[in-house]
């Protein structure tokens, strides 16, 4: 449901334009920004498979058409893992938007994941 929280434009005509992170988050919530994820996995290890599955499902449900998932296998790209400071797997790094958020684990705690990604309460 787009623009679910917005009032008719006329009432807000005199308001100063919203700026900063809050604006970005809101616009993301309102569907204008693409989420870019980098998920570090350890081959076909169970937690990693679960994380891939969870992330894909989550993106299809809450970010349809505006998500990008980059899967990095630490067994193959150890250098990249080192660069991103990845120690445990799976690790999910959110590249865009710049929430400065890192998630550890197989992402099975859906509500927590959504809250961390600032996706809660919007859409089903």
């Amino acid at each position: 449901m787009p623009h679910a929280g917005r009032r008719p434009a006329a009432i807000h005509a005199h308001r100063a334009p919203r700026t900063g992170a809050r604006a970005k988050t809101e616009s993301a919530a309102n569907g204008s920004e693409t989420y870019a994820f980098r998920l570090f996995v350890a081959g076909s290890e169970p937690n990693s498979t679960t994380a891939r599955h969870n992330l894909t499902r989550l993106c299809e449900q809450y970010l349809p058409g505006r998500h990008r998932i980059d899967i990095v296998d630490v067994f193959e790209s150890a250098a990249l893992a080192l660069k991103h400071h990845v120690l445990v797997t799976p690790t999910l790094i959110v590249l865009k938007p710049r929430l400065g958020v890192t998630l550890l684990g197989n992402l099975s705690e859906t509500r927590q994941v959504l809250a961390t990604l600032r996706l809660n309460g919007h859409g089903r």
Binding site: F40, A42, G43, E45, N47, T50, A51, N54, V74, F75, A78, A79, A81, L82, H85, V86, L87, V88, T89, P90, T91, G100, V101, T102, L103, L104, G105, N106, L107, S108, E109, Q112, V113, T116
Partner: protein, 484 residues
């Protein structure tokens, strides 16, 4: 008959010994610790270092890694708590050039700090870390690895069973690659059985490190709690963090490995030489005891002056006064020390006994002996050593310094200030008398309004010494013993 049987038993014992395989060990490079561990840490196995904050466990682990890097056993340092930059800076002050070792690919520091803002949502494992490490192990050909503050990693896991599982995985990974691993864990012994006591079971060698305050002085101790497949020193060993890293106070070996006494050397005073049937024997322990003002320091300084005159070196550890003050006072009785100090033959080190713990005093003394390599050592006065902490501490210091001298063939003169006027009875209370070969007692007697000075050789091993009190005077030319 008995001899043949004995020989047969000895042969069997030797045969058994040769089939027994010795556990391979790697040296830590930490002075004294390799002795406690009877050679070093178990090669290709896990060692656990546990202790409270600031106990020194991280430094011990790091020094092992750094030593490995310098002896062509490339090492990896996985830092869960400290920043790699901070570590490089800290060990620089100890004389270790970490960046140079990193450039030569002998050392790799991994900043493994977990992002404190990371959100945990679901199960995870350390496979990622192991993958990263695998690459580095292969790249360096690493033989040693340190996990510093592994409890930081373990705390991420809520479930102890999961923790154990992960660590088992890590242990297998280490064993497969035959890496000698050292893990440090923060554990406060006061807290009782810690959450990480299962690590004690997993590790092949466990060392507890501890810092405590006794009598207002801080001491650090370590104790090997367990060492599978090897003997080890079972006591608590004090250690200090010195100028170049950790120093575990060397153990006095159970065997008396002292050099035989050497040739006679002049005491610096002709009359005394006569009483001693020639002088002191090199490499022996001499005790000069007397009340305040009896002339003990003067006697010792005359010895030093004479020794330096012969081209020898003397180390004078002074707990009573500064070098300047000492030189000045001796000047007034005709003992000239300044020339010897100028040439560097006489080195005077003045300390306040209560300034540091006995371990540091001991280490300084032994380090000075090794660095300066004097022929003789004088300690003025041993009675001041009690101020280092406790009577036991003083005894430790004196016993080990004297032992150290005898092992190196250095003549050691201890000056003891007696309280009672009857100096003779003071000797037995010291407790180091078995290591002392010569005892000279000085006393002052008031006779007819004048103080009469006398000295007697109470003991002199292997010498036919005089056994009577001899009068002496302190003049402008030092001590003059009256001819008997």
């Amino acid at each position: 008959m008995a001899a043949t049987a004995h020989r047969a038993r000895a042969n069997i014992a030797t045969a058994l010994r040769s089939t027994r395989r010795q556990l391979a060990k790697v040296r830590t490079g930490i002075a004294g610790l390799d002795d406690v561990l009877r050679g070093g840490l178990p090669a290709g196995r896990m060692t656990l270092l546990s202790g409270g904050a600031g106990s020194g466990k991280s430094l011990i682990a790091m020094q092992c890694a750094l030593h490995g890097a310098t002896i062509d056993e490339p090492s990896i340092l996985v830092l869960f708590e400290e920043r790699a930059g901070a570590v490089r800076q800290n060990v620089l002050s100890l004389g270790w050039d970490v960046p140079a070792l990193e450039r030569k690919k002998k050392l790799f520091l991994l900043d493994a700090r977990i992002n404190p803002e990371a959100v945990i949502s679901g199960d995870f494992s350390i496979k990622g870390l192991l993958a990263v490490l695998d690459r580095q192990v292969k790249f360096l050909g690493a033989r040693r690895i340190v996990f510093d503050a592994v409890d930081t990693l373990l705390r991420l896991y809520d479930d102890p069973a999961r923790e154990r599982q992960e660590l088992n995985g890590l242990h297998e990974w280490l064993l497969d690659r035959q890496l000698t691993a050292i893990m440090t864990v923060k554990a406060d012994p006061q807290e009782g059985p810690s959450r990480y006591s299962f690590l004690d079971f997993m590790a092949d060698c466990v060392i507890h490190v501890d810092q405590r305050v006794t009598g207002q002085v801080t001491t650090r101790r370590l104790r090997v709690v367990k060492y599978r497949g090897s003997g080890y020193g079972r006591n608590e060993y004090p250690f200090i963090i010195g100028d170049n890293g950790i120093n575990v106070i060397p153990i006095t070996s159970g065997v008396l490995e002292h050099r035989a006494p050497g040739a006679r050397v002049s005491s610096g005073q002709a009359g005394l030489d006569h009483m001693l049937a020639g002088g002191y024997k090199r490499g022996t322990g001499i005790l000069i005891v007397g009340t305040a003002g009896a002339g003990k320091s003067t006697m010792a300084c005359m010895f030093a002056e004479a020794a330096c005159g012969r081209g020898e070196r003397v180390l004078y550890i002074n707990f009573e006064e500064s070098a300047e003050s000492m030189v000045d006072n001796m000047q007034s009785v005709g003992v000239r020390l300044q020339p010897s100090m100028d040439t560097g033959q006489l080195v005077v080190q003045s300390y306040l006994p209560e300034a540091t713990g006995v371990e540091e005093h001991l280490l300084r003394a032994l380090a000075a002996l090794d660095e300066l390599r004097p022929q003789h050592l004088i300690v003025d006065a041993i009675s001041a050593c009690e101020r280092m902490g406790t009577t036991h501490a003083a005894f430790e210091y004196l016993m080990r310094v004297l032992d150290g001298c005898k092992q190196r063939g250095i003549t050691c003169i201890y000056i003891n200030q007696a309280i009672a006027s009857d100096v003779v009875s003071e000797i037995s209370g010291i407790g180091i008398s078995s290591l002392i070969d010569t005892v000279i007692a000085l006393r002052q007697l008031p006779v007819e309004g004048v103080t009469k000075r006398q000295l007697i050789v109470m003991k002199s091993r292997g010498s036919n010494h005089s056994d009577r009190f001899h009068d002496f005077r302190i003049t402008d030319g030092g001590i003059e013993v009256a001819q008997a």
